[in-house]
């Protein structure tokens, strides 16, 4: 098995891509009938039930990274590496009570930007929007690029065509169906993802005796089972805070907090966390035993596909192809929708044209989705390589936003100076750590710095925030 061969014939790859593409767009059209109003298009009518609500949060959080990077974490950092990845689900658990609080405070809110603007004021809002848009674009671009690279490696589909196809499908169904289509397809995608993961895991188990495999791997790759592996221990909290930063600040999650029915919103996020929790272990454990399975990993970036292909042959490649396509779709559509909301509501309506009507804003939203897709496509076109590092680069930025969001939701004394300082200083010192000590310390240090500053300014603060300011409708 060498690097040049693809696991799947291009014909099969294209057939899958087109079949699923048509299905998603068809479903988008079907659900899109409901999304005529602005509330319907942006927030799926603010009445999404528990099944769709938890599935959409879970599926959005399963990105192509979860499928592709988790096995790499297992191979590089062993058991702790996989456990470190599972901590990303903690973000969903902790966001659950926050989502209920958000719904109470902002019954007619639209975006996370709305919250920061009303809670802290315009300076904090600008810094926050900068961080959020940078992170969202990095996420979007890294996924589209990873998608193109994976499709090429798996099925020999030309990078440009594969990447374009993924983006085109996602833009189309988000455009015609709004958040209804995003959430509906997310449900189907999450079921497919979970079943696919189980299939590959069971195939791996049937190929080896876990006990024997453990004995072999402990001999040949002892550090993978080291309970005190330094890099992995550091990445534990780093990953956790990166995850907190991503979930707490990003409009992808806030738009779901606004979209899911108020009564079940907290439960939906907790359940999503529970659904997500076991995924890294189930996806990545075979990477711990690649030696015992007799699989030679020639290229670290292809760890997952190499193992799945070896375990299940072309069936495995088909399963993996579909799972990756679903995880790409479920995250790219959500990001397109949530980021266009942020641009439409926070930038266009609040900064450029405050008197815009709901109907116009819905039209502007669709234009922004097309624009976002186009910009992403243009950035991805010259294949500059795996943009994973850019995403990790965003770690300190989002980590620094954790405390302004959390204290802003619960503490009256939390104030604008603290929010701005903690985001700016947290990001700066986190970035320094990124270059000085390595990526596995950046988010951790950014979050800690941000905590110290937030608490310091709260202790000195004379602010007593009036919560009713957050309810814009009342005003």
């Amino acid at each position: 098995m060498n690097q040049e061969e693809t696991i799947l014939a291009p014909g099969i790859g294209w057939t899958l891509l087109i079949a699923f593409g048509i299905m998603w767009v068809g479903l988008g059209l079907y659900w899109g009938r409901k999304s005529k109003s602005l509330d319907g298009f942006m927030l799926a009518g603010r009445n999404v039930g528990i099944a769709f609500g938890s599935a959409t949060a879970m599926a959005t959080w399963v990105t192509s990274n979860t499928i592709m990077v988790v096995p790499q974490f297992g191979l590089k950092m062993g058991v702790w590496g996989l456990l470190a990845f599972t901590t990303a689900s903690f973000g969903l658990f902790l966001f659950a009570p926050m989502a209920a609080r958000i719904r109470n405070l902002m019954p007619r809110g639209f975006t996370s930007g709305d919250f920061i603007r009303l809670r802290y004021g315009k300076v904090a809002w600008s810094v926050f929007l900068g961080i959020s848009l940078f992170y969202s674009m990095a996420w979007l671009v890294s996924m589209a690029m990873a998608g193109g690279i994976v499709l090429e490696a798996l099925a020999g589909i030309n990078y440009k065509y594969g990447m374009s196809m993924i983006l085109l499908v996602c833009v189309l169904y988000t455009l015609v169906g709004g958040l209804y289509a995003v959430i509906g397809t997310d449900f189907i995608q999450s079921v497919i993802i979970l079943i696919g993961i189980i299939a590959v895991a069971v195939a791996a188990l049937s190929r080896m005796d876990l006990g024997d495999a453990y004995e072999t791997s402990v001999q040949t790759q002892p550090a993978l089972f080291n309970a005190l592996l330094p890099v992995a221990l550091l990445s534990l909290f780093n990953n956790m805070f990166f995850g907190f930063g991503e979930v707490f600040h990003n409009n992808v999650w806030w738009s779901r907090a606004f979209a899911i029915r108020k009564k079940v919103v907290s439960k939906a996020f907790s359940l999503a966390g529970l659904l997500w929790l076991p995924i890294p272990l189930a996806v990545g454990f075979s990477a711990l035993f690649s030696n015992s399975l007799g699989i030679n990993i020639t290229d670290i970036d292809m760890t997952g596909p190499l193992i799945a292909g070896e375990l299940l042959g072309s069936t495995g490649a088909v399963v993996l192809f579909v799972v990756i396509f679903c995880s790409l779709g479920s995250s790219i559509d959500s990001l397109l929708a949530a980021t266009s909301d942020l641009l439409a509501e926070d930038v266009y309506k609040k900064m450029i044209n405050p008197s815009v009507s709901d109907e116009q804003l819905r039209k502007i939203s669709t234009l922004i989705i097309v624009g976002l897709g186009l910009v992403t496509w243009l950035i991805c076109l010259p294949r500059v390589g795996n943009l994973m590092s850019v995403l990790f680069f965003a770690g300190p930025f989002v980590g620094s936003a954790v405390w302004p969001v959390v204290t802003g939701l619960y503490w009256r004394r939390s104030n604008e100076v603290g929010a701005v300082l903690s985001m700016v200083c947290g990001s700066a010192i986190g970035l320094y750590a990124y270059f000085e000590y390595g990526w596995y310390t950046a988010s951790l240090i950014a979050t800690i710095v941000s905590m110290v500053i937030t608490f310091g300014t709260i202790a000195l603060s004379k602010t007593r925030f009036d919560w009713s300011v957050l309810n814009e409708e009342k005003l």
């Binding site: 609080r101 002892p222 890099v231 550091l234 204290t407």
Partner: protein, 166 residues
Amino acid sequence: MHHALIRLRTQSRTVAAILIVITLQLLTVDVGAAGFQEPDGESYQTDDGTVPLVWGEIGVGPEPDRVYEVRRWSEGETESSLLVYEGEDTASFVSGLNEGKHIFRIRSKDRDGVYPEWGDESLEVTVDYIDMAIVWPLMGAGAVCFIVLILTIVLGRRAVERKEIA
């Protein structure tokens, strides 16, 4: 006659010399031909216990049907070596190495051939993990930050509920 003898002797010497040179060349091709192309150089330092190895026949293009054997000798572990990879691939991502020095060696043969003796060339990989003296304080700070975060949310939520009841 004498001349003829001398000529014969010199001729046989030349032939012998040529033969020796050829066998030496053959031997060197077989003994020292396979080598690591990545990482570059004779030593490699890592802080995460992994090393991406790429190898091939040095000086010649890719050779079909070549079987490679890569082994590792590790300081402080077993006396004998451990098999890293054997087969026709020309790369392997090695991970899970303990802290310390590891020597990697490679040799190759034709599919039905016999391996030559191990050559002198080797790759020395030094694994030097981050000092636990840095790890523990950072972990501690992370744990504190985590616990405070949970408390903020849980207590904040409780305070809100209490106010709603009141």
